[in-house]
Assembly symmetry: C2
Homo-oligomer: 311 residues x 2
């Protein structure tokens, strides 16, 4: 039995314009790294957290990674198994890029390898979702599922959970800008109205169906047209300074669709080549810089594999 492992799990874009709480995908960069070292005394400890600027909880019952591991160990036969956990945040927290989901996924994915793949992918998904719910305050799978499974995923049903994996078009690039402002997921969720007009719902129906078709057909033009949000974006855009200018800059530079990732403040845009993806990033960043807001840009293809072990 292997005793140590280091796992990278990818950041994820959720909502994806039309797919409120339903669609998410993984990107190659950024992501989180979790290192695990098995113990034989049943104890779970967080030994180190780096890259979090001191904001993540070190209490194992409050940290997403260890909450997910504790869930896993509850279902494991050998109660003497414990683990030392080192978390290296390689991505911004509270960015709308599924930071807590990535830590949670890396942790349980790694644990399962150390336990000789005792659990199924479905089990691992459940454990990671429970871990992530500590951070977001609710059960959501639209970051955890793509981080674990890679590619585009669709959540058909939450109760019981049913995830549909969707194909990834070749040559689909994603540009992400993370403006350095703070949005709390819980607060951002409260902005979503409990009722939506049927005419808005119908637009989402048409776009979600078309987004799925676009992925199967590798039709990035169509994919771009489906990135339309009448639920989350109108409510959350006001939390992101210059959101509409950033979006316009992306679309004017050749993006196929642009919207808020999850609760924001990160914003994603699709394109068909790396050079255009880079140009979109520059155009978006010009807007934030001009307005005195620092930002990170991430350029990435779609991550198709989910977490990976780092040698």
């Amino acid at each position: 039995m292997k005793k140590n492992i280091k796992v990278f799990a990818p950041a994820t874009i959720s909502n994806v314009g039309c797919g409120f709480d339903t669609i998410g995908f993984a990107i190659d960069e950024p992501g989180d790294i979790v290192s695990l070292k098995l113990r034989t005394d049943g104890k779970v400890r967080i030994t180190t957290i780096t890259g979090d600027k001191g904001v993540l909880p070190t209490d194992i019952k409050k940290n997403t990674a260890t909450v997910a591991i504790l869930e896993l160990l509850k279902s494991y036969k050998d109660k003497s198994i414990g683990v030392d956990v080192e978390i290296r945040k390689k991505m911004p927290i509270g960015s709308g890029l599924g930071s807590s989901a990535a830590s949670s996924v890396a942790a349980v994915y790694g644990m399962n390898i150390l336990l000789d793949n005792y659990f199924s992918e479905k089990d691992i998904l459940d454990f990671a979702i429970k871990g992530e719910s500590i951070a977001s305050g609710a059960i959501h799978a639209d970051n955890v599922a793509p981080s674990l499974m890679g590619g585009f995923v669709l959540i058909r049903e939450y109760n019981p959970l049913e995830i549909i994996k969707l194909p990834v078009p070749k040559n689909l690039y994603c540009t992400v800008i993370y403006p350095h402002i703070v949005i709390e997921t819980k607060k951002a969720r409260k902005l979503i109205k409990k009722q939506i007009p049927i005419v808005s719902a119908r637009k989402h129906f048409g776009n979600i169906g078309s987004l799925v078709s676009a992925l199967y057909e590798e039709d990035i033009d169509l994919l771009g047209r489906t990135i339309h949000d009448e639920i989350s974006e109108p409510a959350r855009a006001k939390l992101i300074p210059n959101f509409f200018d950033i979006k316009k800059a992306a679309l004017d530079t050749g993006a196929y669709g642009c919207s808020i990732s999850g609760s924001g403040p990160s914003i994603f845009a699709f394109s068909k080549s790396k050079s255009v993806a880079v140009r979109i990033g520059k155009a978006m960043q010009e807007v934030t810089t001009k307005n005195g807001i620092k930002s990170n840009i991430y350029i990435s293809k779609i991550n198709k594999v989910g977490p990976r072990v780092i040698k």
Copy 2:
């Protein structure tokens, strides 16, 4: 130039459980037959209507077939072109099976062949939609588009209209029961609330995306799970006596999903073989017969071609 033509256009199932105003598909049977005979005096006349029990308007400005033809002729170069129209209703009116759409489609599809395909499919779609809107009181494409294009279609956007054609799984059968009760489309539409809970919308998002995936994957089990309606079915079920008993009979007999077609009262159910489709029809009809309501049963594969010329 050909002077006469006889065209069959298929009935259609719209809404399809999760796809309110968004998804529709064509079935091989029933359908409408429209015969056309060109005139050179610019006049449009309805010569005969059969099978309608006298309920369809003979005024060319009120009949869906001729309204669609008048729209077409408005855009045609030669103003001396006219036509004699014979409509043979081969399907029930007010059944929720897109009766007015089928007449409208048959009429303009035939006219276009007589005019040596002067118009594009997109033009024909627009004309037929205008014809159909006379009957339904609103612009809807979810019957007209599948009747014209065949197969499953998805309406991404109404303004401007964008239709996505979806694949048809092999061995997908559809059973339809038309109970002989009257539901007015306009009245049935008024039962739909203007706002829907976001939790219901989310269920529809997951199911519509999954329905499209199921069609591409030819996964009829998944297709069946997506046939779930929180918008139209709860409101309209009360207009159809014993609806839930009919649905239960279908599902108990092996149907993969069962719901109301359009505004009802017709009810559709999917299955994987003709023998099961027949059995489902018998089980549904037993319920209506027991309750003293006459009904028709239609067993059909998915119509992939739309209208066809009858020799």
